[in-house]
């Protein structure tokens, strides 16, 4: 007969013998953030809209409470896997990451929010890897083109002039947001909010430039649940 308790004990022992590379864990965690784009694809039903209204702020609120407890010493920083040394006495980058995504999803049009979220979730870890392996010159050049690419593919429905303008401004904004480090403000926040604010200025100016607004990139799913 199989002894379940022994098996569980053995599984626990095995899991404890494993180790994670915190570096790659952070990278995977970043790219995981792209999943939040499903927000725009969810069907347009009352109950789903209610969930869309409440779940994102509740997640962010939970993260903020967790961080408050950590910084006040009620929860040890040692319980937070993949935390950097400079984050020990400062708000963790995951809080900035979550807050910026919430602001973008709630208050910005999806044409601005989607490329900015992609810059943080995929652009940031790619730039980080380039920084680790190559010189800073490569970071500036490749980082700019990667971020620019995210703006081009999400504004493909816009006029050519607007695509060029948005991709250059957005790419530069995201790159500056990523490479300029502040102790009190994380690059995970800056890489999203700086291009978003710059693009918001362009967005407001679109009618004055005699151009038309580009269509949505993601439409709510037509699934009937």
């Amino acid at each position: 007969m199989v002894n379940v308790a022994d098996k569980l004990k053995d599984a626990k022992k095995r899991i404890n013998s494993l180790d994670f590379d915190a570096h790659w864990y952070r990278r995977a965690f970043h790219s995981f953030g792209a999943s939040f784009l499903i927000y725009y694809l969810l069907p347009d039903f009352d109950w789903i809209n209610l969930l869309k209204l409440w779940i994102p702020p509740l997640i962010v609120l939970f993260v903020i409470f967790l961080e408050v407890f950590r910084l006040s010493g009620k929860i040890s920083s040692n319980y937070f896997f993949g935390l950097r040394m400079y984050e020990k006495k400062r708000v963790g980058s995951y809080v900035f990451f979550a807050v910026a995504i919430l602001i973008l999803l709630r208050f910005f049009p999806q044409q601005i929010a989607i490329p900015c979220i992609l810059c943080a979730t995929l652009g940031d870890p790619i730039i980080g890897e380039i920084r680790r392996r190559y010189s800073m010159n490569y970071v500036y050049i490749i980082g700019f083109f990667i971020c620019m690419y995210f703006f081009i593919i999400t504004w493909f429905k816009a006029d050519v002039f607007l695509i060029i303008l948005v991709s250059v401004v957005g790419g530069l904004g995201a790159l500056i947001g990523e490479i300029k480090k502040f102790w009190w403000l994380d690059d995970d926040f800056m890489i999203q909010m700086l291009p978003a604010l710059l693009l918001l200025i362009i967005w407001v100016s679109i009618p004055y430039l005699g151009l038309s607004y580009p269509g949505d990139i993601i439409y709510p799913s037509g699934l009937t649940w």
Binding site: K12, S31, S35
Partner: protein, 91 residues
Amino acid sequence: MIKMDKNKMKYVKNHYYISRLIRTEILFTPLLIGLPLFVGSFFIYDWYIRGVVGNCTAYKGELILGIIIIIGNIAFDIPFIKSLRVLSKKK
């Protein structure tokens, strides 16, 4: 503005807690890897149903985003899983 020195960029480590932490992260891994793949596939599925079957070009954006999400995540998930396997072999 500050320049981060290498020590500050290091990760917080405490061997007393690390095993408990690792266990939590391992339990979290299926979600970390699975959800983005599911979301990316859902984007592509939606493009297929409404774009290809429905013969409408307005949904191309969903195809592009689906591909980006899947490729972007696989690109980081593979080294992440590899790092786990390599280190476990070492032990």
